[in-house]
């Protein structure tokens, strides 16, 4: 690439993380370290029933026998799991806030800085926000309307108290506690998260949205989300995150489990914008997430849409197990890696039932010195008569120092299955760019336009207001990246 482009790329790439600040709220944080006592402490602090403590301990014991996975295309220094603090909650009034008015004003201020005017957003957009600050949920809105529809949408810790029978029935049925190293760790120490239950035949009256945020220094964040869509129900869930600037790496190992029964549909959308580290690769979030949906029922559908721009390291494969006959799994992803970010992300589509269908559309964008890897598995079991998969996997490179890698794994054990894979890699064309410049566009506008065009197939799967947010996020992440 010639110099003017390179300069533009570097400028874009040099754009600063805009959400880098720290809120000064007293945290109730346990000292670093992890053993059975810490697990017991967490469970006790949260007033959990015995079954859950036993479940955590079992997971912990299993975790101790496991080793960290090392197959991903990412590099980072070894994590000292004993140097991490496993519980942190913002200090609250004795009984906790009952409404927004009771919420710590500092906290609300934080949301403001993040551009999430909670009440406004909730009112205007009709979105119920279960805002997670660090590990404990402090504000939940629109509960009434939801409960009238019979929908349960609450912090995980509340579900533990109010719906223990549901938890006991569903928890860990999609991602078993010993599924993988980080899932096991999460199962042992998870702090909070969201619980959603949509009863039979109910179409959730609004989009459910949770903003996650990591705040306390050096505190691992272990969210746990469980969404159950009972027969014939429908829900769209939005997850968005952003984090303050930090020097130390922060481990984040969330688990998300989805279950869709007969004819149910779950649409799960994520915009992830955690602190990616600075231009030199210092700091940033390690994002090791296990997300999996089980299309347990006939004709059920689970759709993952993600826009990943943040984190120093992303290790994430939202997957679908297509158990029910005629069930459908979808994965739409935009992953942006800039500076020294490393992303190893993709999906797994496991076809178990007959005539199951899956679609994978992955758009990877690399800039700076970043490496972006797509890793996807399409597995068709002998039982999956007539299964079909279509995978499209495109990479866009911005500048000479970055890389894109694609690892599609296909295992077909039923001869009636059709599996299609298309992949492209393109460099953000100097020629495309010049074409736009020649029409009078600024380099920045041209890059945004080209990148947004590249990501269009994914953006159109996002709920409206999220799509706009995602486009803005992309513009910020790649500001000046070419031109």
């Amino acid at each position: 690439m010639s110099t003017p482009e390179l300069n533009a790329i570097e400028q874009a790439v040099a754009s600063k993380y805009r959400h880098g600040f720290v809120t000064d709220i007293e945290s109730d944080t346990v000292p670093p370290g992890l053993d059975e006592d810490v697990v017991r402490l967490i469970s006790r602090k949260k007033d959990e029933p015995q079954f859950l403590l036993d479940w955590r301990l079992k997971a912990f014991r299993h975790w101790q026998t496991m080793t960290e996975p090392n197959w991903a295309f990412v590099k980072y220094p070894p994590i000292d799991f004993q140097s991490i603090s496993y519980f942190s909650a913002p200090k609250q009034n004795k009984d906790g806030p009952k409404s927004l008015a009771e919420v710590d004003p500092k906290l609300l201020e934080t949301y403001d800085k993040l551009g999430i005017p909670l009440h406004e957003r909730a009112r205007l957009a009709g979105v119920a926000v279960d805002a997670v600050f660090d590990s404990v949920s402090v504000a939940t809105t629109f509960k009434d309307r939801l409960s009238k529809a019979g929908v349960i949408f609450c912090p995980f810790s509340e579900a533990v108290k109010e719906h223990p029978e549901l938890l006991e029935r569903w928890l860990g049925t999609v991602v078993p506690p010993g599924d993988n190293f980080y899932a096991a760790l999460n199962s042992a120490v998870f702090s909070d998260g969201s619980f959603v239950y949509i009863p039979k035949g109910v179409r959730c009256p609004m989009e459910l949205s949770t903003y996650f945020r990591i705040n306390a220094a050096n505190t691992g964040q272990f969210e746990r989300t469980l969404i159950i869509a009972d027969e014939g129900s429908h829900v769209s869930y939005l997850e968005g995150c952003t984090a303050p600037k930090r020097d130390e790496n922060q481990l984040h190992a969330a688990v998300v489990e989805l279950v869709a029964m007969d004819n149910a549909e779950i649409k799960y959308s994520t915009v992830q914008n955690w602190y990616p580290g600075d231009e030199n690769g210092v700091g940033g979030i390690y994002n090791f997430v296990t997300k999996r949906g089980d299309c347990r029922g006939k004709r059920s559908k689970i759709s993952w849409t993600q826009v990943e721009t943040g984190s120093a390291i992303t290790w994430k494969y939202p997957s679908c197990v297509l158990t029910g006959d005629d069930s459908v799994g979808e994965f739409y992803s935009v992953a942006v890696a800039n500076h020294h970010q490393q992303a190893d992300t993709g999906t797994k589509m496991i076809h178990v039932g007959r005539n199951t269908r899956s679609t994978i559309v992955s758009k990877g964008i690399s800039a700076g010195k970043a490496h972006n890897t797509y890793r996807g598995l399409v597995k068709v079991l002998p039982s999956a008569e007539g299964a079909r998969n279509y995978t499209q996997c495109d990479s866009l490179l911005m500048g000479p120092g970055c890389g894109a890698h694609t690892f599609p794994y296909v295992e077909v054990r039923n001869p009636s299955a059709t599996v299609e894979h298309e992949a492209t890699t393109s460099r953000i064309g100097e020629d495309q760019l010049f074409y736009c410049l020649q029409r009078g566009l600024s380099a920045e506008d041209a890059v945004n336009m080209i990148v947004n065009g590249f990501c269009k197939a994914v953006f159109k799967e996002l709920p409206m207001e999220f799509a706009v947010e995602a486009q803005n996020l992309l513009a910020v992440s790649l500001e000046g990246a070419v031109g």
């Binding site: 100097e430 410049l437 506008d445 065009g453 197939a457």
Partner: protein, 258 residues
Amino acid sequence: MTNTPPTPLLEARDLHVEVNGKPILKGLSLTVNAGEVHAIMGPNGSGKSTLSHVVAGKPGYTVTGGSLLYRGQDLQALAPEERARAGIFLAFQYPLEIPGVNNVYLLKAALNAKRKHLGQPEVDAFEFLQLVKAKMQRMQMDEAFLSRGVNEGFSGGEKKRNEVLQMQILEPTLALLDETDSGLDIDALKVVSAGVNDLRSPDRAIVMVTHYQRLLDYIVPDFVHVLADGRILLSGGKELALELEARGYDWVRAQDAA
């Protein structure tokens, strides 16, 4: 009283240009005044596209000698987007595809960039749509092209039409058309030529690169130049094109060498 001639729109004097260290233009001189239409003809690889690229400011071209002025201003001081906003338009020999970006979106962004440069407000969405639809009708393009990705999957001829559509909307002062006639069927050639002729005016100039005298039946040039071996070897009126068609380029070279 002496008449000072007006400043030319484009003036190349003894222009030397290299690509990847390879000299392509080797002392090219050309003057284009407002109101004029110039045709540039010449053998493959002689440097015609290079000339249009260097005027438009494509990266990778190094001016190693001579001068290149637009309205008396050194073009090298201007970034490509600044040249565009100042009224230079290049209809590409090979228009690029930009997947996923709506044709109409690019058009609007381009028009607004120009308007901003001129201190005008952004174009009203409704007016813009009216304008585009009128121009599309003029170019006999189906409105479906508006919502398609820029040149995405367009046929060769459709791409060329789309270039001229963009030109019609941006109304450039200096239009460079690089083989806009190549790949057009007979009817399309007429439509595209009419689109170009619409822009002829006393304060604009058009420079078109072509291999075929047929185009010049529709867009009648004031001057015809032969570009060979990186220089303008011969200039003449529109009849020169006929002679070239009959005799080829070798005699021009021979004459020049003599």
